[in-house]
Symmetry: C2
Subunit: 242 residues, 2 copies
């Protein structure tokens, strides 16, 4: 079978490059459909790949043409074909993204969240394709260790996670992150779309929070806001990662 | 005169789009060499542009061909031609970037720093072109309100700013940002290159700091690290921005 160029409608996605493919195999081997590689792959890496694929019973196939076709301008010699899996969130802290629209940003946010001990991300549709190869790439594989779930609305999310305290991040909030002294666990940090933020209706939800900044800028970008929030919440919450 | 496509070697850069051009004119009009616009520009915006250009005595010229040629795929109807100016840093807090290599990242970092009241950025060469149109764009104009200076080495920087306490951010540091209780002002927050971080020699400088994160990721990306650091330093330092 020849795999076509990636598009959102496909039921599988592509994982480009050796490092990411190993992340896939080691963390979510059951989602790996097949690994294809080019004859330019270094023998040492191929040996390692064969061992890991054998261990997890994932098909491995030499296919220069398809690898070349899919890898675009990037010089990549290994491509993983993987299922787009959404996992149930557990009861610890969540990040909730409402209508995120940028694939690269989303990947970086997944990685940052993982770095601050957030292991569950809820996303409200419509949203960017979570399994866009750009998202996978920007997450540096963290997406394979994260529980990610899609919801059609806030109401649907709340039906499943009523015990979480919502902290919507919005410019109109009264409480500033800088003044926050305690956090209620489990919490859900809520962020809006990159361009539009959260709608005003979120002011009625949980404890809205603003990250105070100077008037020299209109707003912090999404990635910055999420970074600062997950840092501060894990700090206030006393989560240490030694 | 027809302006050529941007390249690093040019003595001027381009500011694309109405919003950014107004940022340039309002904050650094003396660096604006000329504004060119296309006949597609909305009359209302043109009127406003004429008023501001007249106020600051900046030449304004209709040039459909050149605007079209320079604006690439972006649909932009106004382009500012600006000098690449480096301004002396003042004695308040600094951000020091050692060999940054990504133009877009740098722009976002400039904007974030400005959002947390850092108005001085020192950059040690070699580094990405600070006036790359991508940097200007990503800074959303904050670059025109920031003092940015280039230095050939840390030694050169220190000769001019010996009163600043250096806080190099590095994984090998002993003190964690999460435990930090006070900061010595004026401070300089120091960050290395996106891929390689700071060399070990920076462990001998000032007070090295690590932002603790989980072992699930190798490191935080530069933009995340800077965001968290400037947030925490202005918070500990008691800087409020009402």
């Amino acid at each position: 079978m020849k795999y076509p160029k990636y598009k959102k409608e496909l039921e599988y996605s592509y994982v480009l490059g050796t490092t990411l493919v190993f992340e896939l195999l080691q963390n979510r081997a059951s989602d790996a459909i097949k690994i294809i590689y080019s004859s330019k792959l270094h023998q040492e890496l191929l040996d390692k790949l064969m061992t890991v694929c054998h261990k997890y019973q994932v098909p491995l196939e030499l296919d220069d043409k398809n690898v070349n076709y899919l890898s675009d301008k990037e010089n990549c010699y290994v491509i993983g074909v993987c299922k787009k899996t959404y996992l149930e969130l557990n009861d610890s802290n969540h990040l909730l993204l409402v209508n995120p629209s940028n694939a690269g940003n989303l990947g970086t946010i997944i990685r940052t969240a993982m770095g601050f001990n957030i292991k569950n991300i809820a996303v409200i549709t419509p949203c960017v394709d979570l399994y866009d190869p750009k998202t996978i790439r920007a997450s540096m594989g963290a997406i394979f260790r994260m529980n990610v779930s899609l919801y059609n609305s806030l109401e649907e999310y709340l039906r499943y996670h009523s015990k979480h305290t919502l902290y919507p991040f919005m410019l109109k909030a009264q409480v500033s992150l800088q003044e926050l002294k305690e956090v209620k666990k489990p919490y859900t940090l809520v962020f809006g779309n990159e361009a539009t933020g959260l709608p005003d209706s979120y002011l009625e939800q949980g404890i809205p929070v603003v990250i105070k900044h100077t008037k020299q800028i209109d707003s912090l970008n999404l990635q910055t806001a999420v970074s600062v929030a997950v840092y501060e919440f894990t700090k206030i919450g006393g989560d240490y990662f030694d």
